[in-house]
Amino acid sequence: MSGPGKSDRLLVKVEALHKSYGDLQVLKNVNVEVPRGRSVVVIGPSGSGKSTLLRCLNLLEPIDSGIITFDGQDTAPLRKAAHALRREIGMVFQNFELFQHLSAIENIILAPMKVLGMSEEEARARARKLLEKVHIPEKADVFPDELSGGQQQRVAIARALAMSPKLMLYDEPTSALDPEMIKEVLDVMLELSQEGMTSVVVTHEMGFARRAAHHIVFMDGGEVVEDAATEQFFTGAVHPRTQRFLQQILR
C-alpha cells in the first residue's frame, strides 16, 4: 500500500499492467496515474493499446498482471462484481452506442433507474438538467437515429454523467464525427474538465489535449513512451518516437 497522502491524491493508479490477446502483447508494463479532478489525455498511433487500456480501467477487459487501483481500492477483488465498480466510471464510445430503441432522455434515465433505483420522476428531472448541460435540452424525446452524430455523442455523455461517476473515460469520442460536429462535443468535454471532472481521454485532437489535459500519455506498441505534464509535452517531448508522432499529427 502506498502512503495515505498519495492514494488520496490519485483517483486511478495503474501499475505494471500487462495484457495480451494470445501471442499479441497489447499492453506492456503500463504505468499511469490519474490525479483527482484532472484530465489525462492518451495519444498514440492506432493499435498502440490506448483503447484497451481504457477498457481495463472499468474492468471490461481482463488483465494478465498488474495492479489497477481505483479510489484507493485495489480493483482485483472487485472483478466478480464489476458492475458495482462500473457505476462509478462513465464511458463514452467512438460510435456513441446510444440504445437505439430508446429516446434521448430514456437513454439517460435507464441506468439511474435500474442500477441506482432512482424514481422515474427524479431521473427525468436530472436527465433534463444534463441535457441542458450538453446544450440539447430540446432533443429529450428524439430517437438516436434522428440525431446528428454530434448530438448523439452529447446524449451519450449525458447518459454517462447521469450515474454521477467519479471518473469519465472517453474512447476516441470524436473519431466518428464529421468535422463540423467535433467542436460541439469537445466543448462539452472541456467544460466538464474545467469543472473538475476527472477523466481519461483517448483522442487525436491535439488542440483539445493542449487546452483540457493536465497530463499527456503517449503510447506506442503497447508501451507508455512518454508521460508528461501538458506544457512540457508539447515543448520538450524527448523521445524520438513521440517527436515523430507529433510531427505526423501536427503537420
Binding site: 472499468n58 471490461l60 464511458m91 430503441h101 442500477v115
Partner: protein, 245 residues
C-alpha cells in the same frame, strides 16, 4: 343441393367454425410456447457454461433431426406409457411447441446477435448487470428484429397444425375429412376448409405487414425493415431478407 350451396353451408356451419377456431387456438398457443422455449434455448446457447450450451445443442439436434409428425405421434402414444396422459389437444400443443422451439431458437438467437456488441458494452459500462443488459437493452431491440420471421412462423404454424388431425384433435382438416366421409362430398368439404385456411393466412399476412410497419416506425434504423410484397410474403420472404436481395 348443388356444390356451391354445400360449400356455403359448410362455411357457415358451427362445426367448421369450431374446427377453424381450434386450428387458430392450437397455432397461437404453440407459437407462444414455442417462442418461450426458443428464447430459453437461445439464452442457453449464449451461456458461458458449456453444459448448458450442450443441452441446447442436444435439444436442437433432437427436434430438428426428426419429423414433426413423428414427434406428435411420439408424444401422443409414448407419454401415456410413462404415466403422463394428456388430451389430444394438450399433446398437440406440447408436440408443436417443442418442435417450434427448436426453430424459434435460431430466430431468437439471430435477433439477439443482431443487436451490436457495442450496445451490450455500453450497458455494462453503465453498471447494469448482465441480465439487466439482456432485459432492458438487447431483448427490446431483438424483438423488433425478429418480428418478420416470427410472423412467417405463425403462418407456417397455422398450416402445420393440420398434422395434429392424426392424433384425433378436431381441428379444421379433421372436421372437413369427417364431414366428407359421411356423405362423400369431398370437393365441397375440403374446399370449405381450404377457404378457411386461406382466409386465416391472408388475415395473418395483412396483420404481419401492419406490425412490421409499427416496428419500423418505433426505433431501429429505417433501412432495417423494408416493405415486402404479397408474393414475397407467400413464399416466406421476411423483411430482413428482402433488404439483402
Amino acid at each position: 343441393m348443388d356444390s356451391p350451396e354445400f360449400i356455403l353451408k359448410y362455411l357457415a356451419s358451427a362445426t367448421f367454425a369450431k374446427g377453424a377456431g381450434m386450428t387458430l387456438a392450437i397455432s397461437v398457443l404453440s407459437l407462444a410456447f414455442g417462442m418461450l422455449v426458443g428464447l430459453v434455448v437461445a439464452l442457453l446457447q449464449e451461456s458461458r457454461l458449456a453444459p448448458l450450451r450442450g443441452a441446447a445443442v442436444g435439444y436442437l439436434w433432437l427436434f430438428r433431426g426428426t419429423p414433426v409428425l413423428f414427434q406428435l405421434i411420439f408424444v401422443f402414444n409414448v407419454l401415456p406409457l410413462v404415466g403422463l396422459t394428456f388430451s389430444g389437444f394438450t399433446c398437440a400443443i406440447i408436440g408443436l411447441s417443442l418442435n417450434e422451439g427448436a426453430y424459434m431458437a435460431e430466430i431468437m438467437r439471430s435477433g439477439i446477435q443482431a443487436v451490436g456488441r457495442g450496445q451490450r458494452t455500453a450497458g455494462r459500462a453503465l453498471g447494469l448487470k448482465d441480465w439487466q443488459v439482456m432485459r432492458w437493452i438487447v431483448l427490446p431491440q431483438a424483438v423488433r428484429i425478429i418480428i418478420p420471421p416470427v410472423g412467417n412462423q405463425f403462418i407456417g404454424m397455422l398450416k402445420l397444425s393440420a398434422l395434429v388431425s392424426v392424433i384425433a384433435v378436431e381441428e379444421l382438416l379433421l372436421i372437413a375429412n369427417q364431414t366428407a366421409s359421411a356423405n362423400f362430398r369431398y370437393i365441397e368439404a375440403l374446399t370449405a376448409a381450404g377457404i378457411y385456411y386461406l382466409a386465416m393466412t391472408t388475415v395473418l399476412m395483412l396483420l404481419q405487414a401492419q406490425v412490421e410497419r409499427w416496428a419500423k416506425r418505433r426505433g431501429r434504423r429505417p433501412s432495417v425493415v423494408k416493405a415486402v410484397s404479397l408474393t414475397q410474403r407467400l413464399i416466406g420472404v421476411t423483411a430482413g431478407e428482402a433488404r439483402t436481395r
